[in-house]
Every structure is written in structure tokens, then in C-alpha cells.
């Protein structure tokens, strides 16, 4: 599994970086032999250069690649005309066309959620900054976008870890200071990170905190010192705001779990997993846990796998369809839910399905408890799940085995390759062709594997069925009426008191 991710990772990461690489090779007239190794070097070289020059170099390269990839009737002629002459302006047009193209090809979004940003739109929004992105951010973005890293807490944690790497390898360019430049450097990383999935509330809060910490670094502090101070602060932040918070929450929530109690939970939450482990392993309570799960992420399986090895816990695993049967047949004592975010109007923004579970439990008079670290609290207000949400990929719903697929960048790269292969004569570039062949063979193998999980009935739904849409939103909103209590590291409170915590928390930092 991990081997495969690394493979995809490397090839995917090479896509955006390869563009500047080809751009530079036109100048240096050298061909890259080992792609993955070169990309890192390339990156470091590129970082040292001036930013404006980099952009100028990357933009035409990008537009060239995109036109090669898309190769519609209008595009190539325009590139030939303008591409070599005025780089900046033409690339701007190309970029617009590019994004327009992607939008056009992916209009399969239900009209109800037409306002939400699709994955393709996200990716097309900022391709030109790919060359200054740190490798750790690349890999993190990929892992996040393929749901290898999923869940607000773990995404936030791994982002902070990646930021540590970024800060470690950061060098302040001349004629600027760390306080000013590091923030913008991080912003670029974050921009790229956003192309994987939109930032979670916790990530947003952590970023805000980090930027604030950077801005208060004394101006006369040396770079190395400042960097190590920042890294220490990040470590402390992780400890304080996530790990210790989880411990406090776990301890306070554990009093609800007694011997032989029956607990219902939905999907997977980092803090709930800790809570269940704490109760069973440290407090030695034995209890039953009913895990409700749903398509397409099946996060509950993760929780089931981690808890099933514990002797004290008796696991039950059900899909959301059988929720009413579970509630009817077994006397559930408490329903525990995790959170993506607690909104300021007391609503819980969490994995889609939580609201349904909370509602069903409330109607059966089962108390619904939410465990949520204060880093997930948001001052946003929202009234329904449709207005603001995150769109997943519709194909994840259709395919029986989702997420084994190629990343979007890789897909673009492959279509580009195929088009290029069709255009190029075999005698012209033998070496490259060989490389491509190897690539293609790999890809064919991959695509064969992916095809196993593909759906037969709706195989070509995007092209064949113009009236069919598939909705895959990732979150929903639970009204405060369904929630009995929100457990945070500051104590337990009703959902109506979320703004109180927000105020306290703002004053405390």
C-alpha cells in the first residue's frame, strides 16, 4: 500500500515540477535523466532564484503543457503565435483558458451545489506556484487529496509537521527579512496545500496562529535561531492544543462510559478513538461500541480495526442504513460524535451523516455528546449544510473501490503524454519515447487494477447520461437541539455556549 502511494506520489509530484524543468532545459539544453531525484535539486535551485524570474519561466511552460494536454482546435495555433513572444500576457490568457477548459469538462455537479468548488477547479486555480512548493507539502497534499490522511485533527497535525520541514529548509532571500518573507513563503505552500482539499477549520486556526508567531519574531534575531524557535513553538502548539487537549477531553468524557455501557459512534474521530482506548486500557472498563459507518470513506472501519483488538471492547459495525435497527434493538446509553468544527451558532459541522445519527439518537432520547478540541471552534455561522460544504469527487460514489485512482495531476500528465505520443514521430525522440513506454506500461498496469473496482452500470455516466449527477458532499450540519453537550478541554458545555469559548480562547492567546 505505502509503496504504491510513494510511486504515485513521485510521479504526481513530478508533474508540476517537470514543467519548469522543461522550461529550464530549453535554456540549458540538458535532459533530466532521473526524474524524481532531479526534481528536488531543481526545486532547491529554483528557490534560490528570484521569484519573478521563476514565474516568468514557469508560466509559459505551464501553458505549453496545458495546451499540449488539451490540444483543442483553438489552443495550439494561439500558442504558436504568442507563446514565444510575450510570455506574461499570453500565459495569463492560457491560464484562463485552461481553467475554463477544466470547468467545461467537469460540469457534472448537481445544480443545488453548483456554487461549491470542485476538486478540478481547486487544482486549476494555482498551478503556477508549484515550483516553489516544498516536497513535504507535495506529499502531504497528495495524501490529503487521496484521503490517506483524513480527519481534521490528523490533517492539522501532519500539516504542522510538514511546516516544520518547510521552516527547517527555509532560507531567507537577500534584501528581505524572515518575518516578512517566511509568511509569504508559507502562503505559497498553503496555496498548494489547498489544491488537495480545502483547509479544515483547525488547519486555518493553526495557520493563523503560526503567522502571528512569525510576525512577532524580533527583527534582530538570527535566522537559524528564529527557525528553531518557531519549530519549538510548533511542537509546543501540537502538544498543548491537540495532544494535551485530547487527554483532558478524554478524561472528562470517560465518566460517561461505565462498565457494560453501550456506546454509539459515527465514522472515525481521533479524540474518540483515544477516549475508547483510554476507557478500556487504562480504566479497565468493558463496554460495547456500535460503530455506524457510511460510504464512501468508510472511516468507521479504521476505528473498528483499531478497537477490535482490545479485549474489553465488544465491537459492532453497521452501515448507516441499519441505524434505526441498531437503535431499536440495542439499548444505547450514549452517542459520541467527533467534530470537524463547532460553529459559533452552536451547530456541529462534521462528517456527513453525523446529523442523521444525532437526530435519530435524539428522537430515541439517547444523549448525544460531542468531543471537540477548542482549536476546531470557528466564529463562522451557518444555517444549512448546502450553502457551505466541501465537494468530494463524484466518481468516489460510483466506483465500488474508490480512491485507488490516479491523482488529477497525474491524469492530466498522462493525457498530455498520450497526445504528445500521438503527435511525435517515433524517430525524433527515441529516448523520451522509451521513458514514456515505461511510464505507459506502469500506467496501464495501474489502470487495469483500477478497472476492477469500476462500476458497470454507470461506467460512462459523465459522458453518456447528461441528466445524471452525483452528489458527494463531505460534511453536514447538526442543529444544536440534537446535541446534549460539547466536551472541550475547557470543560463541558451546551452547544449554545460555543461563542463563550471562542471569546475565552481569543483572550487567552
Amino acid at each position: 500500500m505505502s509503496d504504491k502511494t510513494v510511486k504515485i506520489d513521485a510521479s504526481n509530484a513530478s508533474v508540476p515540477v517537470k514543467d519548469p524543468a522543461t522550461a529550464t532545459t530549453t535554456a540549458n539544453a540538458t535532459t533530466p535523466a532521473g526524474e524524481t531525484k532531479l526534481t528536488n535539486k531543481e526545486l532547491k535551485e529554483l528557490k534560490k532564484r528570484e521569484k519573478a524570474a521563476k514565474r516568468a519561466a514557469s508560466k509559459p511552460a505551464n501553458s505549453d503543457a496545458s495546451t499540449g494536454a488539451n490540444s483543442s482546435a483553438g489552443n495550439p495555433s494561439k500558442t504558436q503565435k504568442e507563446g514565444k513572444q510575450v510570455a506574461a500576457s499570453s500565459s495569463h490568457i492560457k491560464k484562463q483558458m485552461n481553467s475554463a477548459k477544466i470547468k467545461e469538462s467537469n460540469n457534472k455537479v448537481p445544480p443545488m451545489v453548483g456554487h461549491l468548488e470542485t476538486r478540478e477547479q481547486r487544482i486549476s486555480s494555482s498551478p503556477q506556484i508549484a515550483n516553489i512548493v516544498h516536497p513535504s507539502i507535495f506529499s502531504l497534499t497528495l495524501k490529503i487529496s487521496t484521503y490517506k490522511i483524513v480527519g481534521s485533527t490528523s490533517r492539522c497535525l501532519s500539516m504542522l509537521e510538514a511546516f516544520k520541514e518547510v521552516i527547517k529548509s527555509y532560507e531567507t532571500p537577500e534584501a528581505t527579512s524572515l518575518q516578512r518573507n517566511l509568511t509569504s513563503h508559507l502562503s505559497h505552500q498553503i496555496e498548494y496545500l489547498k489544491t488537495g482539499r480545502p483547509l479544515s477549520i483547525s488547519m486555518g486556526n493553526a495557520i493563523r496562529w503560526l503567522k502571528q508567531r512569525i510576525s512577532v519574531i524580533p527583527i534582530d534575531m538570527k535566522d537559524d535561531e528564529a527557525k528553531s524557535q518557531l519549530i519549538d513553538e510548533i511542537d509546543l502548539f501540537i502538544q498543548e492544543r491537540i495532544l494535551y487537549s485530547d487527554k483532558v477531553i478524554t478524561q472528562s468524557a470517560s465518566k460517561h462510559i461505565q462498565n457494560n455501557s453501550k456506546i454509539l459512534t459515527y465514522a472515525h474521530s481521533e479524540v474518540l478513538e483515544k477516549l475508547f482506548k483510554f476507557c478500556s486500557l487504562e480504566e479497565n472498563k468493558s463496554f460495547e461500541i456500535y460503530i455506524i459507518d457510511s460510504k464512501p470513506l468508510f472511516e468507521g472501519k479504521k476505528l473498528a480495526k483499531r478497537l477490535s483488538s482490545i479485549n474489553n471492547i465488544q465491537c459492532h459495525y453497521n452501515l448507516i442504513n441499519s441505524l434505526s435497527t441498531v437503535l431499536e434493538r440495542s439499548d444505547i446509553d450514549f452517542c459520541f460524535l467527533g467534530a470537524h468544527s463547532m460553529l459559533s451558532n452552536g451547530r456541529l459541522y462534521s462528517r456527513v451523516g453525523s446529523a442523521l445519527v444525532a437526530m435519530a439518537c435524539k428522537n430515541k432520547n439517547i444523549p448525544v455528546l460531542v468531543c471537540c478540541e477548542s482549536i476546531k471552534f470557528s466564529d463562522k455561522v451557518q444555517l444549512d449544510s448546502v450553502t457551505l460544504n466541501e465537494l468530494g469527487d463524484s466518481d468516489d460514489i460510483v466506483n465500488v473501490k474508490p480512491f485507488n485512482k490516479k491523482g488529477f495531476n497525474l491524469e492530466q500528465y498522462l493525457t498530455g503524454l498520450k497526445v504528445a505520443e500521438n503527435n511525435n514521430k517515433p524517430q525524433q525522440q527515441q529516448q523520451q519515447q522509451q521513458n514514456k513506454k515505461i511510464n505507459d506500461n506502469n500506467n496501464n498496469n495501474k489502470s487495469l487494477k483500477v478497472d476492477d473496482g469500476d462500476n458497470e452500470i454507470l461506467k460512462n455516466w459523465k459522458t453518456e447520461l447528461p441528466f445524471l449527477n452525483i452528489l458527494n458532499v463531505l460534511y453536514d450540519l447538526t442543529p444544536p437541539e440534537y446535541i446534549q453537550k460539547v466536551i472541550t478541554e475547557f470543560g463541558a458545555l451546551p452547544p449554545s455556549s460555543v461563542p463563550v469559548i471562542l471569546r475565552e480562547y481569543k483572550s487567552s492567546t
Partner: protein
Amino acid sequence: MSASAVAATQKFEILVDSFISKLKRRQITGSFSVATETCHLLMRVISNSRWTNTDEFIQLIRGVGQRLIQAQPREFAAGNIVRRVLAIIRDEVNDSTPSQIALSNNAPLNTSMFQLLSTNTTTKTTSKETTKAQNQDLRSVVIQGIRELIDEIASVHENIELMTVDLIHDNEILLTPTPGSQTVLNFLLKASLKRKFTVLITESYPNDIEECHKFAKTLAEAQIETVIIPDSTVFAVMSRVGKVLIGARSVFANGGCVTAAGVATVCECAKEHRTPVFAVAGLYKFSPTYPFDRDSLIEVGNSGKVLPYEDSDLVGKCEVTNPLFDYVLPEMIDIYITNIGGFSPNFIYRIVLDNYKNEDVHLD
């Protein structure tokens, strides 16, 4: 005489046994096909059966009904059809012996009050031996009745579809959590001729996922705006939904119904959002029984669908259940749309009374 009687009973046994084993093997599933097949079986049984008086005839059919119900207690359509046929027989028997009815009708008020308290053993004992010709008549009349019943079942969709215009307005968003239901599909297809609307379909993973995809494909091909949503997304979109349309597997006298798993939660959610819930069902799905034991109504399916082979490391450590059905409470449903019109769940007991005889509610 005796040899032919033995042959007849043998033939009768073969008919019933083969049908029962088909039911048990689930070669006949789905209320519609079970209902039609039961009609055909009863027709053959009646034409092959031997009986000397009407009581014997009724007992015979009751016996068949009992065996069918035991074979597949959750296919209510079989029992319902048997009860419908019994009602036809009883009506016919009562009509053919008008003297008794006339007698009881003409009786003075005080004696009828007395009859109310006394058991009606008198009527049973008075049913005298009927002649062979009368029996033949009854037989042909009942078979004619069953034919009409088959026609009624076959035209259920058309009659339900007549109501589409009254129920859907233009640009409405409908949600259906039962993609396995043919009645719902036909209803929507018919409605699309008159109205423009969007249909949200839940996947009902894992049991009906293929049906869902086929359902969605059929609707999309008929140029209806169709959106597939995962089961978990119901709450998120419910605020946008105008009406919820469910297909019932069987409807009980109290107005509750059994349908696909997950529908109960969807209906609950609709109730929370004050979204009207329509249930569509043919008359043959209406059962005169009451759902006292919820657990006995719900069939449990293959848990391998919930936890596939790849997750086999969880097997044995984790208890997995995969219920196939859900019981929906009557208060969750606003209207039943049947082939004889729309009814509130409170009124279902009347519809049931019209079509079944009280004596036949319990066949055992």
C-alpha cells in the same frame, strides 16, 4: 373415484409444494411477482381441488395460505392474495345462500342484539351440503374473481400513475430512498411526462446499490434531472427537498409499512424538516395484520456486503448485521398512494376491512 381423488390430491400437493420451494429459494421475490404468481397458483389449485361443501373449500384455501405464509413469512403479498381470494369465496357463498341473510336481516331487533352476544355457530352449522352443480358454479365464479384480481395487480402502476399530476408541482425536488421499487420508478417516469422535476436517489448501500444505479440510469435516460446521493447525505439535502417518495414492500392495517433498510431514518429526517412523505403501494401490499413484533418483520441479509472480503481481519472480532428492511411508523408517512386512490395512514384499516374478511386475518 378414490384413485382419481388420490391423483387430484397428488397434483394439488405438487402444485403447492413446488410453489413453496420457489418461495423458499427466493426464485420468486418482490411483492408484485409474488402476488401474481400466488394468483396463478390459487387458480390452478382451485380448478384441481376436490371438495364437497363450501366450508371444506374455504378450509382448503386457508390451508394453502397458511403454508405459503410459513414458507416465507416476510413476503406478505402471498398471504394477502390468499385472503383476497378467500374474501371472494365468502362473498360468493353468502350471495348464493341469500335465504339466511334475508332471515337474519328480517329478524327483530332484540334477537339481533342477542345474536351479537351469542357466538355465530348457528350460521356455520346451517351451511348445508351443496350440490355438485352449485360447486361447479362457485368454482368458475371464484376463478373469474381471481382473473379480475390479476388484472387489478397488472394495472396497479397505471392507476397509481393517474395521481402523479396532483402530487408533483413543476421544478420540485423529490427524494426517494427506495431505488429498488418498480412502482416508484413507474410513478416518476409517468410524472415526467407532465412535470419537470429533480429526483434525488439515495444509494441504499449495500443491498440495493445496483438497483439504485439502474434506477438512476433509467430516469436519466428519460431526461429527468437525477442526482445520486449517499445515504448519509440525506440530512444535508433534506432542507431542499419538496417531497419524499417511498415505495412500500407491505403496508399494515395500522398504516405502518415495511420497506428497504434506511428508509425509517429518512422518513424521520423528513418529519424533522416537515417534508411530506408519500408512500406508493398497490392494494395487494396491504396486509390486514398488525406489526406487533418489529423484529419478526425485518429480514437480515448477507453481512459480507457490509464488511467485504478485504476487511476479513475484522471478522470474528466485530459483530456485523445487515438488515434488509425497515419498519416505518404510520406517523412518519403523510399519504399512501394506492391504485384505488390516496389515503391517510389512519384510514388504512378501513381499506383493509373493505378487501379482507375479518375471519381470514389469521389463517392459522
